[in-house]
Symmetry: C2
Subunit: 370 residues, 2 copies
């Protein structure tokens, strides 16, 4: 399993010369599966060994990574011995318990849960925006942002550097896979229940069609039907009617961009898309902006695809962005009635840049510094 060794032809003389060891915790989930896709797709990886870790239920499964069969291990303190970087994609409470254990055993834990994101001693990193923060990790933990926030960060980071971001009004179009494999499965099941039937035109019949197909509303990860519907809710209820997802967009954008007083209002809405979150963004800057200048800045970003030619029918959609690494940006307009304000539409694969890819990019950023 000496990937770095095999690829670079180095001699095995010690762990660091062989390359660092990576552990992937939550390897069998929606994001974990995407993580393996990403690792498989890289030309080179720095790791001498990759360990796959999951719940005891998934332990013993064999997954193929870069041509090698790897047996999934059950989560236990010992799996982190000798690990340099441990990626976590597990529920908040699992991360809260296990990321510190990984750190204690000497690994840098890169965590995709919400457990540590707002901890002042844990950096929240988007490598294009604030890679330097990855080195400041007093707890040995680095957090990966929420997927909705992440979808716009590469674009907003680039525009902020140029024009000085002051305020964001955001409405999201969030994919089912934001709720994990269970969200994907539910959307497919709901679509099968409504497809080929004349439902959705008159009242109540989407819910009826789902019930008729034996799809229990209480078993859904979503609080309302998602097929032929949109659901203005994601996450849990926080103070004053805000959802946790909406507050994450505000708090995480402030932390990542380093603008503690950034004004943010977000409305988070689930849509019947499998994968890729989209955001309609109304962004106000301290300096004068133009569509042309914004396009120039965005076009220079390696992680952004600018698709903004409505005359040619070109604008970003989730079906375009899904499965790829870049964030797609388009529909850039100067607000007609709001000074220094741009409208734009952003699509980012929530399992890739929104989760697995950014987490992995943090891991490689850490690996370089080891």
């Amino acid at each position: 399993m000496e990937f770095a060794h095999e690829q670079h032809g180095r001699h095995e003389q010690g762990r660091h010369e062989r390359g660092p060891v990576l552990a992937l915790v939550g390897a069998t989930g929606a994001v974990g599966t995407t993580m393996i896709d990403i690792i498989d797709g890289r030309e080179n990886v720095p790791w001498s060994e990759i360990r796959l870790v999951a719940s005891p239920r998934s332990a013993g499964k064999v997954l193929r990574v870069r041509g090698q069969d790897i047996t999934v291990q059950a989560l236990a303190p010992e799996v982190f011995d000798g690990v340099d970087v441990a990626l976590f994609d597990v529920p908040d409470e699992v991360s809260a318990q296990w990321a510190p254990i990984a750190a204690e055993r000497g690994a840098v834990a890169v965590d995709n849960s919400g457990a540590f994101r707002m901890d002042p001693d844990v950096p929240l990193v988007v490598p294009e925006v604030n890679a330097d923060k990855a080195a400041e990790r007093p707890k040995g933990i680095i957090s990966n942002p929420n997927c909705t926030t992440l979808s716009m960060m590469a674009a907003m980071g680039a525009l902020h550097r140029e024009f000085g971001l002051e305020a964001l009004v955001v409405a999201s179009y969030q994919a089912a896979s934001g709720a994990g494999q269970g969200g994907i499965d539910r959307l497919y099941a709901e679509l099968a229940a409504v497809a080929g039937r004349e439902v959705g035109v008159r009242g109540g019949d989407v819910a009826e069609a789902l019930a008729a197909a034996g799809l229990d509303a209480a078993a859904s990860p979503f609080p309302a039907p998602l097929a032929l519907n949109v659901v203005p809710w994601a996450g849990s209820l926080k103070d004053d009617g805000w959802s946790s997802e909406e507050l994450k967009v505000r708090n995480e954008a402030r932390k990542i961009l380093g603008i503690p007083d950034l004004k943010v209002s977000a409305t988070c809405v689930r849509v019947p898309v499998v994968t890729t979150h989209s955001l309609a963004v109304h962004a106000t800057f301290s300096r004068e902006v133009s569509v042309e200048a914004a396009r120039k800045v965005l076009a220079e970003q390696p992680s952004i695809v600018l698709r903004d030619d409505p005359a040619a029918g070109e604008f970003p959609t989730p079906a375009d962005a899904v499965g790829g690494d870049p964030t797609w940006v388009g529909r850039i307009r100067q607000a007609l009635d709001f000074p220094n304000t741009l409208e734009l539409f952003v699509c980012g694969d929530n399992l890739r840049k929104g989760a697995a890819l950014n987490t992995y990019e943090i891991a490689e950023t850490v690996a370089i510094s080891l």
Copy 2:
């Protein structure tokens, strides 16, 4: 066909004593069909006669309205003779030609196209907001607003009266039926093509699945796949990258609310919902607002259903609002970083309040004044 006569038991002594005559132009389209549903559903209607009018292609069809069979007539000047109110739901260019002919023959034309909405001599009416404007119709034409604008007007009109509206930032979640019956048919066909297949997770395969099912992209009323996707485009391209739909939201909201300098930025996005448009609205007022005060104002509106109890899982969705007359409003939050600003989520059936219902309500407003 003397509806008013039959229902009220009046003697037939002359046209106005019998009740006015209604013509419905575009009777066989998506909105026309909904219009007939609405007329069927009314306890009483003021009309002594209802004429159904459509293109020559649909002429001769027999449709049942309030228990009577009515033969669809082909559009011709003579069909308007003796008509008091003529409702038009036809393409812009058909309205532009025929609404003035109806007016010339003595009818009040109530038009649901975009042909006359911004004409200063044509009122743009939402009865709950500006019913008084229906009497000022120098051209004999009254316009019905665009469905996207309409979806939020009952709510914004009520909030404006109380708090003084200054600015709107809007992101839409627009249904396929906004593009007419062709839009509905296309969405169903696309859903059938993707249902039961594992598509939409990885790149490009929604488009592939549609192509494999023989669905020609060029034949779609939408500029991209709509199943398992969202499409940030509606209408035609206007100056500086704005879509016609987005500018309608701005211009029509200003005209209906009577606020010529209302600040508006809209992003219009099509979603895979059959019927009912939703809007995420960020609304700034000149006076202090609170969630409680806003809820009180909205709860008093007969045409609004307030569904705003996230703790109980209650918020508006298109599947709830579809098929009904009211606008559903919820997710009301005070913006954390923007003074005097509320966030809210609004759902309105785009074929009913967004088109047929409001048009019909204008017609009844006119009928009362005849």
